[in-house]
Each structure stands twice: as structure tokens, then as C-alpha cells.
């Protein structure tokens, strides 16, 4: 087959960017291409490999030199203290791990935990959420966007406070998976 040109690589990166996928692997006779949207996460492939594999030839972002920013085992043992503040403030690290999923800010703006001032928060630690449940609101110049959980489970930690500016992809909540059929109330089927 004909070899992959630079144009092709650019096209692949653009396609990935516009897609809903986070990661893409392309392999041809003379080229292996790993492309990933969020540089701080660890891809399944990398996690499975022994670390001797050379760096991916192409990543959209430089992969973090310190490895995963969040040590989940440490977090569990220290009672869920997960504030990963290394050096300067940037967006929160991506949290992936067994049974724990982050809810991230879909945009930069002012975060509100309540539907309106004085109202109780949408969720608290211990609240059980479905994918479509609202968990907060982000305001950008008087435009309000509801943040949906996007995952099912129980809120185990709240990172963002009322009225706080949150960055794009900043972790707002940590959600613990609940095994099917246990506590999770099923959405009514009609």
C-alpha cells in the first residue's frame, strides 16, 4: 500500500479531534500512529504494556512526565484526599480507575451547585445519580448550562464549590460505580 503522508496524519488528527473518541491507533506496514486527545491519561494499551515500549510517535499533547497525576491507591487509604496540586494550578487530572469516574466541567465558567440561590444543591456526597441527572450549572456571561452527571453511581467527593470558577475539563465530582441492581434506582420505563 502507499505510505501515509503528512497530509494523512493531519487528517487523522483532525478526525480524532472532531470525533467522540479519546484515542486512536493506526498501524500500517511502515507506520504506527498513536493519537490521543487528553495527554494526561494513560491509555489502555500503555497500561497493559511493560513500559519499555518507545514513546508514541505522535500525541496531541505531551504526555505527563510524572505519569498519572492521581494515585488512586493512596487516595483510598488516606480517606479520599485527592487534591492533586502539583506545582501550578492547571485543570484537574483525569481520574480513571476501578469503580471511580469523574464528572468534568464541559466548559470554563462559574459553577453553581444549586438550581437557584438558596436552593439545596443538586447533589451531595452520597447522592446517587443517573447519566442524565443534573449535578450543577455553569454560567458563562449570564448563559447557564446544566451539567449532567454523564455517569451512573454514587457521589463520593465534591471538588467544585458554589460560585467557583471552573476550568474546561476540571473535575467537579468523583462518582463511585454501584453494581447493577443494588441501590441504583432504575429510571422508570415509561
Amino acid at each position: 500500500m502507499t505510505s501515509i503522508t503528512q497530509d494523512d496524519v493531519l487528517l487523522i488528527l483532525k478526525l480524532l479531534e472532531e470525533s467522540a473518541f479519546d484515542e486512536l491507533h493506526v498501524e500500517t506496514e511502515d507506520l504506527k500512529l498513536w493519537a490521543r486527545k487528553h495527554g494526561t491519561g494513560i491509555s489502555l494499551d500503555e497500561a497493559a504494556l511493560d513500559g519499555k515500549r518507545p514513546k508514541p510517535p505522535l500525541t496531541i499533547e505531551p504526555a505527563s512526565a510524572e505519569g498519572p497525576d492521581l494515585d488512586l491507591s493512596a487516595m483510598k487509604s488516606s480517606g479520599a484526599k485527592a487534591e492533586a496540586q502539583t506545582g501550578k494550578q492547571t485543570c484537574e487530572p483525569s481520574v480513571t480507575g476501578q469503580g471511580l469516574n469523574p464528572i468534568k466541567a464541559p466548559m470554563l465558567g462559574t459553577f453553581y451547585r444549586t438550581p437557584k440561590p438558596g436552593a439545596p444543591p443538586y447533589v451531595e456526597v452520597g447522592s446517587v445519580v443517573n447519566e442524565d441527572d443534573p449535578v450543577g450549572i455553569i454560567e458563562v456571561m449570564k448563559l447557564f448550562t446544566t451539567v449532567k452527571a454523564g455517569v451512573r453511581g454514587r457521589i463520593v467527593q465534591v471538588f467544585a464549590e458554589q460560585g467557583q470558577m471552573v476550568e474546561f475539563q476540571q473535575t467537579l465530582f468523583l462518582v463511585e460505580e454501584i453494581s447493577e441492581g443494588k441501590d441504583l434506582p432504575k429510571a422508570s420505563p415509561g
Partner: protein, 460 residues
């Protein structure tokens, strides 16, 4: 007057680095608004804080007025510097800044609007007695085109009313050409822009692009800082700029400076701005083209010969302070040249060349300035403009500045991505360039052909 203690940099790349440096000198803290692709960039490392405003595509990050405003408000920044490109000339940003009590480092929204409509800006200039390129209004048919062309004189440029950036232009050298070209141009304009309307403009074969830097404060003080010659362009993208222009007499320079100030005074311009002219060196005439209401990429050559820090001055002015210098204080000395080094492959038609930089060895030395966000290990993202570095040199005269630039280019080593360094090395040795005998079409008409034949010699 409002003191600025913290400023949001609403931009990326070398201009973000440049703004952060100016802020450090002024004792101002900086917040960098960065897309996901730029969180590890050099300006991100330099800023006091980085705020992630959105995903890499500019439409979802650097072009979002709301994100910039919220980032500034949320971090306690009192001012926003837009740099160039992105939101720099979007009046919505200064308007939103005003609503949120933020200082916009730049002109008023109304001034951006007045100069943003290029046709109205030309009409304004004309009404103020500033020459504009002689041309026709919209042309309805060939007969009308022939009559107008006869009056304006050949060669003549046929332009698409909906065109821009050099697209939809054709040259007629004699009436016979016009007959053939008119129908062609009309059809092409319709195909390209969905609008077949055309107009005529006098064609200047050896036109140069000469622009005047101006600076105004909130107290009505306005000065000009001389010109920059940006005639070396490829597809209307500037590649090398210099100050002063090798083609300008002192009289013409003074006239152009005055013309620029007439326009600036008329709109009570504030902050840094640039009035662009087309210079006809043979007829010794200049024509107003447009005004840019932002700091420009090539501002360093003006800084090098005037000793005035334009970015710092912009920030001081924005906080309400009067200009730190008067017209009499502006005394250009020597000559300065800037080469724009892009992450592009000159031997492959200047195709963008994103990727990771392995080796990054920029030139150093007296009279050499490098404005860049590049470094070893940096990943040049594919989403943005390919400008990677600007090399700026200074000399007592033009030849000294050129000689410095030749040395600097010889000592600039980059690997991992392709750059335009080889092209600039070739350009800096060209006899026409050395004599200053170039025009805005010279790179495309003359130099690129020679470069393609000789490219291999300059790639090492």
C-alpha cells in the same frame, strides 16, 4: 486611572510569551488562557497561572469571548491582552470587558468597528484627503469596464467585490486582455464567492507594502513611530519585515506619518495601531489600504530602531497613563530586520509541519533577538498558525542588519519539524533583496522559482 496588578493573556505562542515578559517588567501578574493543546506550552510555564479555556480548536477556546471574560473574572485579573489574531479585532471582547469592569488592552470597540469595515475605512480616509488606490465602483458590464479602464490606465486589476486576501484578482495589461478576462473573472468570482460583482483598481507593478506604526493614549496624545516595510510576502502572508523602508525618501516618510496621524486623530485612536499603505516607488506615491487595530506580529523591528517597548506602552496606556514619549522623542536609529520562522516545509510548497521538536538551538548574540515559544520537546500542534519564532536583528545600517541576520539564520538549528529557515537563508543572499529592489509579488514571481531550483543546497 486604574492600576493593573493582574492581566489575562488571551492568546498563545510567541505573542503570549512577549506579553508575559512585558507584564513581568511592569510587575504585573499574568494568567494565561490556554486551550487543552497549550497547557504545557512555554507561555504556560512562564505565566503565574494557567486557566484551561477549552479544547484545541480555536472556535471552542481562543475565539470564545465568554470563556476569556469568565477566566479573567474568576481569577481576579483586571485586564485582558488579546495579542494579535483570534479576538484581537473582535469588538465584542472590549464590549464585554466594559460590562464586566475589565480593562481591554487595545482600542475602543467603536474604533475597531470603524476600521474593521475595510470599504468604509477607505471612504473615511479618502474623505480626509488621504490618497486611496484609484479604482472604479462596481462594474455592471464589459462596456462599462472598458470605459473605466481607459480612464484609470492600463495595466489594470480586476477584483471580485466579495474577494479578499488576494483571491479573485486578475490583471489586464491592455484592452484586448480585458475583453477576455472580464467574463472569466466574473464567472470565477461567482464560483468562488457566489457573487460575480467586479470592480477595477489601478495595478502598481512594483508595489511595496509600507505601514506606519501609531500609538495613542486616552488623553488625545497620538504619535507615529515610523514605518515598516513588509513587501516580502507569499500569498499575502508577510515573511520578512524591516524598518526603515529601503524605498522611502525622508519627505515621503514624513507625509505618510502625517497621513496616518490624520486618520488616527479622526477616530481618536487609542493604543497601538498600524496604518497600512501601498507604496508606488516609481511614482513616489502612497495609497491607504487599511488600518489594523492591534499590536502586529512585526512590531519588534519598530522597537529595535526606536527603543520603545510597544507592548509595555500598550498596557500602560490601557491603565489610563499618558504616553511615555512625544513625537520629538521618537528618533529611529539604525536598521532592523525580522524573519518569520514558520513550522512549514519550504521545499514542499510551505506545507505546515506540525510535530515534536527534537533539537532547538536558536541563535544568540548581541543585536539578535528571538521571540519564540519554541523549545526542545515542544509539540507544535496542528490546530494553529505555524509561526514558531521571529528572529530580529539590528545594525547601524541595512547591510549590517542583514549580515547579522545571515549569521543568526546560520546558527539556528531545529530538527523534528521542518521550518522556513532554509528559505530565509536563501532569501538573505539574494542580490535583489540585498539591494532592496523587491515588491509585494517578488517572492512568488521571482524568488520561489529560483528557490525551487536551488533548494537542496540550503536544506542542511
Amino acid at each position: 486611572m486604574k492600576r493593573i496588578s493582574c492581566l489575562l493573556v488571551a492568546n498563545r505562542s510567541e505573542i503570549a510569551v512577549r506579553i508575559i515578559r512585558a507584564c513581568r517588567d511592569l510587575g504585573i501578574k499574568t494568567i494565561l488562557a490556554a486551550s487543552e493543546a497549550d497547557r504545557e506550552s512555554l507561555p504556560a510555564q512562564m505565566a503565574d497561572r494557567v486557566v484551561c479555556i477549552g479544547p484545541p480548536p480555536p472556535g471552542e477556546s481562543y475565539l470564545k469571548v465568554g470563556a476569556m471574560i469568565m477566566a479573567a473574572v474568576g481569577t481576579g485579573a483586571e485586564a485582558i491582552h488579546p495579542g494579535y489574531g483570534f479576538l484581537a479585532e473582535q469588538p465584542e471582547l472590549p464590549e464585554a470587558c466594559a460590562r464586566y469592569g475589565l480593562i481591554f488592552v487595545g482600542p475602543k470597540a467603536a474604533q475597531i468597528r470603524q476600521m474593521g469595515d475595510k470599504i468604509l475605512a477607505r471612504q473615511m480616509a479618502e474623505s480626509l484627503g488621504i490618497p486611496v488606490i484609484p479604482g472604479s465602483g462596481l462594474i455592471q458590464n464589459l462596456g462599462e469596464a472598458m470605459a473605466r479602464a481607459e480612464k484609470l490606465g492600463y495595466p489594470i486589476l480586476l477584483k471580485a467585490a466579495a474577494g479578499g486576501g488576494g483571491r479573485g484578482m486578475k490583471i489586464a495589461r491592455q484592452p484586448g486582455d480585458l475583453k477576455i478576462i472580464f467574463a472569466e473573472a466574473s464567472a470565477e468570482a461567482h464560483a468562488a464567492f457566489g457573487d460575480s460583482r467586479l470592480y477595477l483598481e489601478r495595478f502598481i507593478p512594483t508595489a511595496r507594502h509600507v505601514e506606519i506604526q501609531i500609538m495613542g493614549d486616552q488623553h488625545g496624545n497620538l504619535v507615529h513611530l515610523g514605518e515598516r516595510d513588509c513587501s516580502l510576502q507569499r500569498r499575502y502572508q508577510k515573511m520578512l519585515e524591516e524598518a526603515p523602508s529601503p524605498a522611502l525618501s525622508p519627505d515621503l516618510r514624513e507625509e505618510m506619518g502625517k497621513a496616518a496621524l490624520v486618520l488616527a486623530h479622526h477616530i481618536r485612536y487609542e493604543s497601538a495601531g498600524t496604518v497600512e499603505f501601498i507604496l508606488d516607488p516609481e511614482e513616489k506615491k502612497f495609497y491607504f489600504m487599511e488600518m489594523n487595530t492591534r499590536i502586529q506580529v512585526e512590531h519588534p523591528v519598530t522597537e529595535m530602531i526606536t527603543g520603545i517597548d510597544l507592548v509595555k506602552e500598550q498596557i500602560r496606556i490601557a491603565s489610563g497613563q499618558p504616553l511615555g514619549f512625544s513625537q520629538e522623542d521618537v528618533k529611529p536609529t539604525g536598521h532592523s530586520i525580522e524573519c518569520r520562522i514558520n513550522a512549514e516545509s519550504p521545499e514542499q510548497g510551505f506545507h505546515p509541519s506540525p510535530g515534536r521538536i527534537d533539537l532547538w538551538n536558536p541563535p544568540r548574540g548581541e543585536r539578535i533577538r528571538v521571540d519564540t515559544h519554541g523549545h526542545a520537546g515542544y509539540f507544535v500542534p496542528p490546530y494553529y498558525d505555524s509561526l514558531l519564532a521571529k528572529i530580529i536583528t539590528w545594525g547601524q545600517n541595512r547591510l549590517e542588519a542583514i549580515s547579522q541576520m545571515q549569521k543568526a539564520l546560520g546558527n539556528f538549528h531545529v530538527s523534528g519539524v521542518d521550518t522556513t529557515i532554509p528559505f530565509h537563508r536563501f532569501l538573505l543572499r539574494n542580490p535583489d533583496f540585498l539591494q532592496g529592489a523587491v515588491h509585494t509579488r517578488w517572492i512568488e514571481d521571482v524568488l520561489l522559482k529560483e528557490f525551487e531550483q536551488n533548494a537542496r543546497d540550503y536544506l542542511c
